[in-house]
């Protein structure tokens, strides 16, 4: 290569931009932030520099409103190899293996252009994983939409699901789980949170560090275009009437290109050619170059004329801020440049040396023989202002539909009213409940996702947690996403604890032990003190529960400004929990398995609604976990939306192992039917077993309540209460109501 660096340019060659108030507004920068920029540079910035600062200091990239709070989250633990601050968190799973995982939001783009917005959300998180050297083996997603009676919400859902399928299926990662909720507040602001997990040998981790002065900085992958410019800035503001005009800010995804990039990057890593590597995600070339320099304490010089470009006449500003997808920046050893080129050429990819690592700590950018930016890396990557924004508890929180009980949160209000009318027809109510938007089957969605590629999926979508075997070992991973928005909206602190507890419970019910978590914190406008209060409460609740369960947060993402026309969404934290199933034989399904098995309900002595007792939660989880290990459990299902009645129905539906199976259950007469069937109390688990006596003995020894409810068998779900069949319904009929729920809403 004839690439050559001429040495730093004198400051006077840099032409300052005419910065007016309008220019600052367009860049989402405040006057005081601007002054800080001037102080760092010791001069007025160029237009390119202003653009660079605006994306790096955007809320999305800098976490300027959340940083002070995020420090309270536990991030360390015996299994944690890498906590927050890198592209993804990493945990040790034994056998010399590690997994890298993270969740990230792509909410704003998905509202403007649902298909591409969601697709590139998946693409972005996959790059975060393989940039560390891990091969992605599982993806999940957590989605929130407005109610489907509005045409626009249908269009958004179909677009988002189509985009996720398009990207994940082509790339070849199984989409093994996720969750979807509907509520009004997401009508103008859908949420798309994408999770990915990859696996690798734990001594082969790669970091985004530009080490080794003089080493080449190499650009690989897709060409740079004008798409996605200011994507990060867009994600750091709310939407008004001009939302549609922001469509060009959304990136376009090419999963085929990403698949080639994956294989080429892993091959180059295997061959020991790479010193440091980072994907170009939010804030593109800017973010990858300055962060890699900052982490290594080095400088990076870039010559933009060498950057492969898709369009002609792109300015330095545009090249630096483009968020074109499927691009990576890597640093190689000086003498390995040729070999790197060979690998990427083999995969038919662009590979160009665009700069060098320097010793002076500056990000220096040249374009058409002029220095257009010269900024200290450290100040850019880590020097963003940190705001301690005002917190104020809101005057009113979302109240429960019943004063002290939570009932079918996701159902239509009319259905809830029916519940409290006289002479309820319980068969009909149950059928309505299983078909309502927040309870009905998501099969229509996940059948569109390839959830089996790579042939590790023991069980995928539709279970409490997904179970993925780890080839070459006897282990499996259990993965789940949980974000109970209604509960968080009612009480952010308790709701956040419940999210963590439910995630752990899902892992435990699948036969695993929770190890570590990633979080995606979706909130409204942080400049609203009520939103910041919610945020702070959620962080505290999450910190408390994660510390209690020993599941550190190894990374994640904050998405603020989820507001449209001034209306904030519910505080919506989503927890992505990773658990380890030590032996594949512990893998436990949520569905009933055998006729004649006993059905038991385990719960704490004191019932809680809308809050959580951590000690109780631990007791229930310990019981389930030890019972599974001792082979006492045939199936285990966590009680969630819709309470006991819905959980029983879910255990009966058909699955790939067997057809629909019935159950006959008696609700003890000292319980209150309505509350007991549909109440959403915390910390309850439904098990099926062949050894009631032993389970009962253990539950009582642990001070837990134990109800022997009945037996699996037949083809009907029968619920008895005070000697009356209050529910008596054919499972196939119930199952079709449940599985038809979503397609009906979409038709």
């Amino acid at each position: 290569m004839d690439f050559r660096i001429d040495g730093p340019c004198p400051g006077d060659a840099i032409k300052a931009a005419m910065v007016t108030e309008d220019v600052l507004t367009q860049h989402n920068l405040t006057e005081s932030e601007y002054q800080k920029i001037v102080a760092i540079l010791k001069r007025e910035p160029t237009m390119t520099e202003l653009g660079i600062f605006s994306v790096m200091w955007s809320e999305h990239c800098s976490y300027k409103s959340s940083r002070v709070h995020l420090r309270r989250l536990p991030t360390k633990g015996p299994a944690v190899l890498q906590g927050p601050g890198e592209n993804a968190g990493i945990i040790d799973i034994g056998d010399g293996l590690a997994v890298a995982f993270k969740i990230e939001s792509h909410n704003h783009p998905s509202f403007i252009e649902p298909f591409q917005g969601a697709a590139t959300g998946v693409g972005g998180i996959l790059r975060d994983i393989f940039t560390m050297g891990a091969r992605p083996i599982a993806a999940m997603n957590s989605l929130r939409f407005g109610p489907l009676d509005k045409q626009q919400n249908k269009r958004i859902l179909e677009g988002v699901v189509g985009g996720i399928a398009f990207y994940g299926n082509c790339f070849g990662v199984p989409t093994v789980g996720g969750e979807i909720y509907f509520a009004d507040c997401y009508s103008q602001n859908p949420l798309v949170n994408a999770f990915a997990l990859g696996i690798f040998e734990k001594d082969k981790i790669f970091y985004g560090r530009a080490r080794g002065v003089g080493n080449p900085v190499i650009y690989v992958g897709a060409k740079t275009g004008r798409d996605g410019i200011h994507g990060a800035t867009m994600a750091s503001a709310g939407f008004g009437e001009d939302a549609g005009a922001k469509r060009p800010n959304v990136q376009i995804g090419d999963p085929f290109m990403e698949k080639l990039l994956l294989e080429a990057c892993l091959e180059a890593m295997q061959k020991g050619l790479i010193v440091g590597i980072q994907d170009m995600g939010a804030a593109g070339l800017t973010c990858s170059s300055c962060e890699m320099g900052a982490r290594a304490g080095t400088g990076v010089e870039l010559d933009l004329d060498r950057v492969p470009q898709r369009e002609t006449g792109m300015s330095a500003y545009e090249i630096m801020l483009s968020e074109s997808q499927e691009r990576m920046l890597l640093v190689a050893e000086k003498d390995k440049e040729k070999e790197v080129f060979e690998v990427f050429h083999k995969w038919g990819l662009d590979v160009v040396t665009v700069g060098r690592v320097t010793s002076d700590g500056f990000l220096r950018v040249r374009h058409q023989d002029k220095v257009v930016a010269e900024i200290p890396n450290g100040a850019l990557a880590d020097g963003a202002p940190v705001y301690e924004r005002r917190l104020l508890p809101p005057k009113s929180t979302l109240s429960s539909r019943l004063d002290d009980h939570s009932f079918l949160d996701g159902c239509e209000p009319t259905l809830i009213e029916t519940f409290f009318s006289e002479n309820s027809d319980w068969n009909k109510l149950l059928k309505l409940a299983v078909a309502c938007p927040n309870i009905c089957s998501r099969r229509w969605v996940w059948q569109q996702y390839d959830h089996m590629v790579q042939s590790n999926t023991i069980f995928g979508p539709g279970s409490d947690a997904a179970a993925i075997r780890v080839k070459g070992t006897k282990k499996a991973l259990a993965l789940t996403l949980d974000g109970p928005a209604y509960r968080v909206a009612r009480n952010p602190r308790e709701g956040a604890k419940m999210a963590v507890a439910e995630a752990c419970r899902n892992i435990v019910c699948s036969g695993g032990s929770p190890i570590a978590a990633t979080n995606c914190l979706n909130f409204g406008n942080p400049e609203h003190p009520e939103v910041m209060w919610q945020f702070s409460e959620v962080v505290d609740g999450m910190a408390e529960a994660c510390s209690f369960f020993g599941t550190p947060i190894t990374g994640g993402n904050v998405s603020f400004y989820n507001e449209t026309f001034g209306g904030d969404i519910y505080p919506t934290p989503v927890i992505g929990m990773v658990g380890l199933i030590e032996d594949i034989s512990f893998v436990t399904r949520s569905s009933f398995r055998n006729s004649g098995d006993s059905i038991v309900l385990i719960e704490p002595v004191m019932r809680h609604v809308g809050k959580l007792d951590l000690e109780d939660e631990r007791a229930v989880q310990n019981l389930v976990s030890s019972a599974i290990r001792d082979r006492l459990v045939e199936s285990a299902h966590d009680l969630s939306e819709g309470g006991l009645a819905v959980a029983l129905a879910e255990c009966c539906y058909s699955n790939i192992e067997r057809g629909a199976i019935g159950a006959e259950v008696t609700i003890p007469s000292h319980l209150e039917l309505r509350k007991d069937l549909f109440g959403e109390f915390s910390t309850r688990v439904l098990l099926s077993t062949r050894n009631v006596a032993e389970l009962q003995r253990r539950a009582e020894r642990m001070g837990l309540k134990f109800h022997d409810l009945g037996k699996v068998g037949g083809k009907r779900l029968i619920l008895n209460y005070e000697s009356v069949h209050v529910v008596d319904i054919d499972i196939t009929e119930l199952e079709s109501a449940w599985s038809e729920g979503l397609p009906k809403l979409l038709s």
Binding site: A165, N169, C170, F171, G172, D254, P255, F256, M257, K259, L260, W347, G348, W446, Q447, Q448, Y449, D450, H451, M452, V453, Q454, S455, N456, T457, I458, R469, K471, I584, V587, I656, E657, G659
Partner: protein
């Protein structure tokens, strides 16, 4: 005996096929790069699933021009055993090595789910260990698996016993309800008239172990091994 698994840019099931052959069948297997111009030394060739060339233009439409495809065609002409799974089936039809075409699914959605396949003929190197009518529980994962052929071709395929698998219900009945994608005559897999090239949309490479939901895919791979051993 050596299996070869072709990697096109965008293939994504090559590792599943490789793993099935190596770890489950315990047979020798190697990858074949799409730029290779020969498949010499291989006894069976697998075209795996995925999205070769991103499925851009049309599924399989670009992959058929990969240099390796000429070698695979020669190999097949000389009687070599070739199996194309999912995207591999699409490539084989585009390359003219199998009749018919695969259109977008009725319903226009990608579908990933388990299906029952009824084995229609055991007179192939892919089904020789099975019994006619045997049901296999094997998943599909495709957006373009709707088998189509003009009526004359379809008649020929049927008359010459080239239909290997049909989508069926759990009782083995071939019904419209059991047809996930609109394929003519519920066709899930066919062989060429020489009977040594199989194309099938379902993935036996995802059903080789009971923890994955089914081990029925092994019947197909083990039949191939049997065919090679007894040849």
């Amino acid at each position: 005996m050596k299996f070869g698994v072709v990697i096109f840019p965008g293939s994504n099931c090559e590792q599943d096929c490789y793993y099935t052959i190596q770890s489950v069948l315990q047979q020798p297997v190697e990858y074949i790069w799409h730029q290779d111009t020969t498949v010499k030394g291989f006894d069976a060739v697998v075209l795996p699933g995925g999205f070769a060339y991103g499925d851009y233009l049309r599924t399989g439409a670009l992959a058929k021009f990969s240099p390796v495809m000429r070698a695979v065609a020669d190999f097949a002409k000389k009687g070599g055993i070739v199996i194309g799974i999912c995207n591999g089936f699409q490539i084989l039809t585009e390359a003219g090595m199998l009749p018919g075409a695969l259109l977008r699914n009725v319903g226009l959605k990608y579908l990933c789910k388990f299906e029952y396949l009824r084995t229609e003929t055991v007179d192939t190197p892919f089904t020789n260990l099975m019994t006619k009518g045997q049901l296999l529980h094997i998943p599909i994962g495709h957006g373009e698996g709707n088998f189509f052929a003009d009526s004359e071709t379809l008649k020929r395929i049927e008359d010459q016993d080239q239909v290997v698998f049909r989508y069926a219900d759990a009782h083995g009945h071939v019904t419209p309800e059991a047809n996930p994608n609109g394929s003519l005559n519920n066709i899930a897999g066919i062989v060429n008239d020489q009977r040594n090239v199989l194309g099938m949309m379902p993935h036996p490479d995802r059903a080789y172990e009971s923890i994955l939901g089914s081990a029925d895919g092994r019947w197909i791979f083990e039949s191939m091994v049997h065919a090679l051993v007894t040849r």
